[in-house]
Amino acid sequence: MSDYNFAYLDEQTKRMIRRAILKGLAIPGYQVPFASREMPMPYGWGTGGVQVSAAVLTPDDTFKVIDQGADDTTNAVSIRRFFQKTADVAVTEATAEASVIQTRHRIPEEQMNAGQILVYQVPIPEPLRFLEPSEVETRKMHALEEYGLMHVKLYEDISQHGAIATAYAYPVKVEDRYVMDPSPIPKFDNPKLSMPAIQLFGAGREQRIYALPPFTKVVSLDFDDYPFEATKADHACDLCGSTESYLDELIVDDAGGRMFMCSDTDYCTSRRKAGHIGAQGVPYEEDAA
């Protein structure tokens, strides 16, 4: 512990990030520029989320990290250990026990509550970036609320595929003003973006922070005749049998065998502990893996 300042970053950096977070909360959906620091991990591994978490954590927190819903992937484990080491926080895999949850590309299945903070890792914060490469132009488009291009993109989806084919990073409009990229969460998670918890988004390489206060109005873009639909694989989880949760598809052999399982490992494990068994599941045993 003595080798690091609390939560790794120096105090002046944390103040700068904290000021950006406050302006982000004051202007929901607007991307606040911040002076992103080099972190001891490569860009793309959650440097933005890590910096936001470092600015937010206190020693009293219980920290959880998920990577596409899973607590036990390399990225999640290493970020969790990083803050165990540098911020001395308690850690957990249980969604309900966590006060701060850093997430890559999922919102937990379990309903978030008012005492919690959800920190998203964001690769490309600008929803218009793949439509307009110039930052000068996209900034002007946000200033003028000029979002026609985004609707054209969704329309082209319909004209080519017969439906809006965008399945993740589905654009939303925040408080009838800013179009925002909710990070590459599946569109299944979009309806959960209006929640009692504070949501903070950090993009390290792109040097942007944005935020959603609790109960902020978040609407997924759509058309009257092609309304937004939160979709998932049409299956039940093969491990816990849930029909409600977002599923990962797993190829299990080289003969076309596959199974579907909850992407949220804590949700799936809790259900299996409670005795739910899916089509290919076995009764839950501690440390069975």
Binding site: K14, L25, A26
Partner: protein, 184 residues
């Protein structure tokens, strides 16, 4: 009291707790949080001192209203944060009592960069959840807060996404009012 005293005893930990309180009141207008850790010189309240120590540094010019612009306050802010004292037009933060705030002279940010606006730390003689009705992001239905007036906050919200953001302090307690909140 000496200017060298009254700062955070354990800056990283105290600032982390204080920031969580500031973030919570900004994200949830109408919520009042208690903070601790600073003992600033009069007339600064504990809460205003905590906010200054948590958010201000050499990169954030501060405007002080005349009654707060004393040598003791200047020395304390200079020693603990290094923040320069400035005119309203350059202020990242403004600190003082409500009726002395030149509200019309602070930057509101630009359409491209609405974040480049002043955050006002307003010292109030009383702070309670008894007063104006608040609606907007961070509030499930409605909330209430003892605001010093209503019209200024209504016209501030009309500039959205530009606008000023407010923190209200009284003794060791603080509340927040971002530009998104609709006041009535």
């Amino acid at each position: 009291m000496h200017a060298l005293e009254g700062g955070f005893a354990n800056a990283p930990i105290d600032a982390a707790h204080a920031f969580r309180a500031v973030m919570n009141v900004t994200a949830r207008p109408g919520v009042i949080e208690a903070v601790q850790g600073a003992t600033p010189p009069a007339p600064l309240s504990i809460a205003a001192g905590v906010v200054v120590l948590t958010l201000c540094d050499p990169e954030t010019p501060i405007f002080l209203t005349p009654r707060y612009d004393t040598p003791a306050v200047r020395d304390w802010i200079a020693f603990h944060t290094g923040a320069p004292i400035c005119a309203p037009a350059d202020a990242a933060f403004a600190l003082g009592e409500w009726d002395q705030m030149p509200v019309g002279e602070f930057p509101l940010g630009t359409s491209e960069y609405p974040d480049r606006s002043t955050t006002l730390i307003v010292e109030l003689p009383e702070l309670s959840t008894d007063g104006a009705t608040l609606r907007g992001p961070g509030i499930e239905h409605t909330a209430t807060l003892s605001l010093p007036e209503i019209e200024t906050f209504q016209s501030n919200a009309q500039h959205f996404p530009r606008g000023l953001d407010f923190l209200f302090t009284c003794a060791d307690r603080l509340a927040g009012l971002p530009r998104t909140t609709k006041v009535s």
